[in-house]
Subunit: 534 residues, 2 copies
Amino acid sequence: MADTNHKQVSVAEFFEKNRHLLGFNNPAKALLTSVKEAVDNSLDACESAKILPEIFVKIQEMGENRYKLIVEDNGPGLPKKVLAKAFGSLLFGSKFRSTGGKQGRGQQGIGISAVIMYGQLTTGKPAIIISKTAKEKQARHHKLHIDIKTNEPDIVESTSKDWTKDHGTRIEVIMEGKITKAKQSPYEFIKQTAVVNPHADMEYIDHEGKKHKFPRVSNKLPKAAKEQKPHPHGVEFGIFKRMSKSTSARSVKSFLTKDFDKVGSGTANAILKAAEIDGRTMPKLLDDDQIHSIHKSIAEAKIMNPSTDCLSPIGNEALAKSLESEYDLEFVKSVTRRPTVYRGFPFQVEVAIGYGGELDAEGSVTMNRFANKVPLLYEEGSCAITKAIKGISWRSYGLSNSSGSMPTGPAIIVVHIASVWVPFTSESKAAVSNYPNISKELKLAIQECARSLQQYVKRKQRAGLEEEKRKKFRGYSSEVAIAVAKLISNESYKIAKKDIDKTAEPIQEKLLATAETMYASGKEIDEGEEENDE
Amino acid sequence: MADTNHKQVSVAEFFEKNRHLLGFNNPAKALLTSVKEAVDNSLDACESAKILPEIFVKIQEMGENRYKLIVEDNGPGLPKKVLAKAFGSLLFGSKFRSTGGKQGRGQQGIGISAVIMYGQLTTGKPAIIISKTAKEKQARHHKLHIDIKTNEPDIVESTSKDWTKDHGTRIEVIMEGKITKAKQSPYEFIKQTAVVNPHADMEYIDHEGKKHKFPRVSNKLPKAAKEQKPHPHGVEFGIFKRMSKSTSARSVKSFLTKDFDKVGSGTANAILKAAEIDGRTMPKLLDDDQIHSIHKSIAEAKIMNPSTDCLSPIGNEALAKSLESEYDLEFVKSVTRRPTVYRGFPFQVEVAIGYGGELDAEGSVTMNRFANKVPLLYEEGSCAITKAIKGISWRSYGLSNSSGSMPTGPAIIVVHIASVWVPFTSESKAAVSNYPNISKELKLAIQECARSLQQYVKRKQRAGLEEEKRKKFRGYSSEVAIAVAKLISNESYKIAKKDIDKTAEPIQEKLLATAETMYASGKEIDEGEEENDE
């Protein structure tokens, strides 16, 4: 009677069927996700090896709704023993951490293998992987599939060949895809990636063979993110317990001070005292109740905020410079906030606002969202960044918006959130969850930029207004002068009608000179006068 | 230089960190998700064994933000050799299919293990599993954890005990949780589950010890969903290729006719002819290009829509009856649409609308969404069902709404989508994706119910209007009669002033009688008269 047809499903089988969870919902989004995963991978590889990235992307049309994606980098290359698995097995990689970690683009070791899986699902073609480390003489060429049932690479062909590159990695995947011209195109993704990665040199050849160059703007590698121990406030019970069982520390006290961030001897003593645990106890000997007491007293303990050198922000100068190099703007302001914390994870918000120039004065402002230097192109509506922008009353900052909607005006708002662990709303990593601390920081950062924008816009409006007044004044000056001349002709001066024009001339000159001086000195005309003016 | 710290991450490790993907975002949602996964599991188990389900759910407070969830069913029980893995290993189960399949609540073999994993993560406590099949004398008791690193059950204690039940399964999991009183409470979930599962008997004891009973409304088990072969139009290339390599069929032709739904000899011949493949070829010998030709000619071939006996709708009568048993209503209309297809998967939409009675006349209507008989309580905004309801202009159906928003009025709208493969927007399975065919069917089904509602509301409004007129008429009849009497007193009849009242009496009587007859016969008063009335 019972249904005993039970079996274990591989993670590859699961994600093949549920590939929408990874961002492969439809051909257009799948192609974009593939570009994103490959470029993320390349940038991460270069930065971890302290190499200034040179990235080449090409999308080649292979038939109806069929494209070959090529991504090549000058990264360190992957050693032979992990190369096939890094691309041919889901959840195999170097980036996954249950706790702690450092800021990176990819976080799970799932992205690039999913691209290969998607190519194979839709076209059946194997992927081509070429990689060479500086130590190796030749590059290794793999042609491989992913064996879905076992989640292992299935190498069809493997050879060694000369390569002009000293080190690097290149992948080629043929897949079903669709190119959109919308905001969510590969071109837009690469352009936005260039904006927030000013140290990267990127080249993109699109499906029509058109070459787009995004040259390096800064020769400085971003501050490298450091690997970080977990902060005790971000560690849940189950993980805390697991750590206590597998630690190499010989006492609970050294377990706390060595395996966690920001726990010194004093803090450890306080935690253990509150939990009524002897600090000399071996961690492995703690029973569940004891572990619970410690975990609970950690939650109640005052512990310094986590170290923030695991973060690698873009930097406000680099961000402003990069934005200016991609867009022709009148005004740019950027802000990098100090790092702060949610759920024990440090994070940092950066915002830049550009205004005027080539930007469209009609319609909504352009919003570019980034997480760990990766552009977010989908799920705009559910993202904390969008919500933060919509939640601001832009009228007081020189733009306009009706309550709860995107502001309108000639502006671009760039928001970047950097974190060891960005809380995405889904594994397609397109939107940031609405954690209160994150929302608050986002709002403060945006408002800080917006205040500068407001001053600029106000100054500009005033300059515009004054220029207009000056024009009006000049335009009417002759009539005013004549009127004045007439006025005085009828009164004490008794000027003859035929002489009015003659009399008006010097009056007009005088009027104009006074006006020029007045505007040049910046003297304000107060509200009352303004109204009379009209 | 290269980052060689590569390792394989278990699927348990991945989902422990990414548990928001499975619906464990926060304590309130996690508790609800746990109830849902356990109840889904129990209902599926009972139905697959053709047992009328009796399900007991209890949530017991164990401390601050800590609850024990108990779910017990009279299902077939699980045999010893799969019991531990079914609960202690993610992606182990009997329901996952790459293609084809049948309608079920759980689809992945991931839900109930995730509940246990969440309990362990937040409280460290092992889960208790009790199960007995009819064949066994005693029930097996397991106390188990999930070993996160290996994704295998870690059995702490295993015993056999007598059990009053002949067969069934019970689980107990202690977890961090939070009870909300909102629309997303366990109570609401169970109540809604009862509505769409009229054959289930459910009992719920909430955290305050209050007992809620949801008795069985129908003794008829729903039509069992049949396991179905995949329809060729829903099979992607990579899966098609894999099937061709692992089929037991000895010729391509029999591969097509035996392994797929709706492919007879004629259809297979047509497909193979268009692909220029000899039907006698052994499937295993096909090369990539040949497989491609066949796959392509399948896409272009006319093939009958998939069989729909893999679906198990609630049925419109059962749905209406169930809705009436849970709510006190004036009007109910339900519709079960004929099955149709998206991406090769059959699906079917059912809608019921209830009106009036205990429902609140102010504010938005109540909307209950279901997929495969499971209430959907989260992500309302991104669900195709919500979008379909909001997209209708309700003013013409007796309710009201401003463009693009939920209708308002005393109504409840129940929408159920049944499918072999419901395309959820995420693995937390709370919202249905917006596939065009699905959206269209949803709209048609809702509109069909809405037309009946419109007739009812119109009739009710007219009845109300007439009653009001009748009241007014009665109220004014004495004045009218007097006026008439006065009128005639001044004219030909010459009635004395003191006799006016006497004369008016029979006039009033006559007026009232005429009015009664008029309203009773349903004779309409045309618009012109209506307006004069006021």
